[in-house]
Symmetry: C2
Subunit: 327 residues, 2 copies
């Protein structure tokens, strides 16, 4: 690989001049700049990013922290972030926090040690000291914060829509799965659904609590739900994995879907259309949310004026095979 | 955050001495070392990893390149890699190549620019010049290479097992989905299955080609397969996503599973047990493969003697609801 010395020699200038061109600092005559750029191209010279980052105190690295990439909602977010970052030549240092605050703190610390210029995090605790003491911009993704930049979907409205569709399509004995207590978007959905169902005439509502969003919990939760409420004719699942597990259990119990029980999921992960019948769900635009978070962070890093610090994306009902048809 | 100067002051030594302790270079008296370490602990000093990496010419960063994290097989690999790396304090710079050679080359280049000390890659072209000219260790994951370190599952045996189980459980008009041509593990499975079926008495074999492993392709491929071979009584899917799409389409066509058609997938992603009936499949231990690749790379980075450069992990048949019961 070519060195900066070889570039300087080929261009007939000093190493300092090459450095000024590379770092866009100080005055360089236009002809000289052209000569240096020619030499760079000719020798396929690529500057060492680490040396650059020390010199400019700026790297092109971003820290991305997600709860768990094996939950199929998060890869969509991650792809959105990465694709937008890629367009502006930023690279991601990536970590899974497992929603463990020690692991989260540890990752944030190593992000800083590696001179990241910004952080995107899906954390349950945006007010944690690990974030507030950071001297670089942070964008919270899929999580809201009262006073910090964040990108999220309208979970409350999503919960309302799920409940309205459930009632409108004829369910009267409805069970709501309440997602993990510490995951705020899950609580927003729950509250939105409750808001509608509490005032819906002739509807009874029961609540089942999920402790986590893991696969095992989804399978176990589905079994318990039908044991406790065998007569339910409508379930608002805490997310699509839970919804798929409920569909599985309902079919295993020989229930007809959607005639006997309607099920509505949340997220619209690719799996939702693959199960049979395909899962009706509330779509969150996860990929777009990832892109928006990346865009917002880039604006902060590049010191641009940012009008909107909180970006809420809309949700929508995806009508598929686990809800009844109406006019 | 504490600086190296403050550590030196507190320990009553020079900055150079603190640096020698941190970098484990040169002689430092045991008592002095103890004093420095006490000061480091007391002040919660954490060295800047970038400065360290320039000085020692070693970072704690690894580049991880996967085709596409939104394909649910890859997050399992990624988690395995990350969890093992985390244990040894390595961090991952992560990229999706989309199996695009330009994107792949670009990522490898920026990995190098950020001073990664090793690379793990799932590439279709381990012989690409981007890899051969790297001066740091590379481990190929989920892909085999004739002469380079790699960790992979026994795809050929997986294909054989799928075919044997299909025949043993009574299918006679079998369709094999052949995965994308450029993905070698997919071809290994195909060849393994063909090996068994070509010599199976009374069995007819047909082949359908998949151009990619995308969701859309899986859905489209399933429709086309049943249009072309409506009478098939057994399908060896190219992976679990394709298997789930085939199951979906078969149920939509009112076929009884597994009575009318048996389906066997490949991978054993979490989705496979969630669909109904749950998908019988050939399990690849993806998480363990990720861990093994990380382990192997760490051994190379730390210059340990490595006995085994190619690690092949076993596959196994997961009997679920899309295959018939036999004694």
């Amino acid at each position: 690989m070519a060195t900066i010395k070889e570039v300087a020699k080929q261009a007939g200038v000093s190493v300092a001049t090459v450095s000024r061109v590379l770092n866009e600092t100080g005055y360089v005559h236009e002809d000289t700049r052209a000569k240096v750029n020619q030499a760079i191209q000719h020798l396929h010279y690529t500057p060492n990013e680490v040396a650059r980052s020390l010199f400019k105190r700026k790297s092109k690295l971003i820290g991305l922290l997600l709860p768990d990439i094996t939950n199929p909602y998060f890869p969509e977010l991650a792809r959105g972030v990465e694709d937008r970052m890629q367009e502006s030549n930023y690279r991601l240092i990536f970590g899974n926090s497992d929603e463990d605050e020690h692991k989260e703190r540890d990752y944030i610390q190593t992000f800083v040690q590696n001179n990241v210029v910004g952080v995107i995090s899906s954390t349950n605790d945006p007010n944690a000291v690990s974030y507030s003491k950071l001297k670089i911009p942070v964008v919270f993704l899929d999580r809201t914060s009262d006073d910090k930049p964040s990108v999220f979907a309208d979970g409350r409205e999503g919960g309302r829509i799920a409940a309205q569709e459930m009632v409108r399509r004829g369910s009267r004995g409805i069970v709501i799965q309440r997602g993990p207590q510490q995951v705020r978007p899950a609580q927003d959905r729950f509250l939105g659904a409750m808001e509608v169902l509490e005032s819906a005439p002739g509807v009874t509502v029961d609540i089942m609590q999920n402790a986590s969003f893991s696969y095992n919990e989804a399978v176990q939760g589905a079994k318990e739900l039908f044991e406790k409420f065998p007569q339910t004719d409508g379930i608002i699942a805490s997310n699509d994995i839970a919804g798929a597990a409920l569909l599985h259990e309902a079919l295993r119990l020989n229930k007809r879907i959607p005639e006997d029980v309607q099920i509505i999921g949340f997220d619209d992960i690719p799996l939702s259309s693959l199960v049979y019948p395909p899962l009706s769900t509330i779509r969150q635009p996860a990929y777009e949310m990832g892109r928006e978070a990346a865009e917002l962070l880039i604006q902060f890093i590049e010191n641009n004026l940012v009008a909107q610090h909180k970006i809420q994306l809309p949700v929508s009902f995806m009508e598929r095979g686990t809800t009844r048809k109406v006019d």
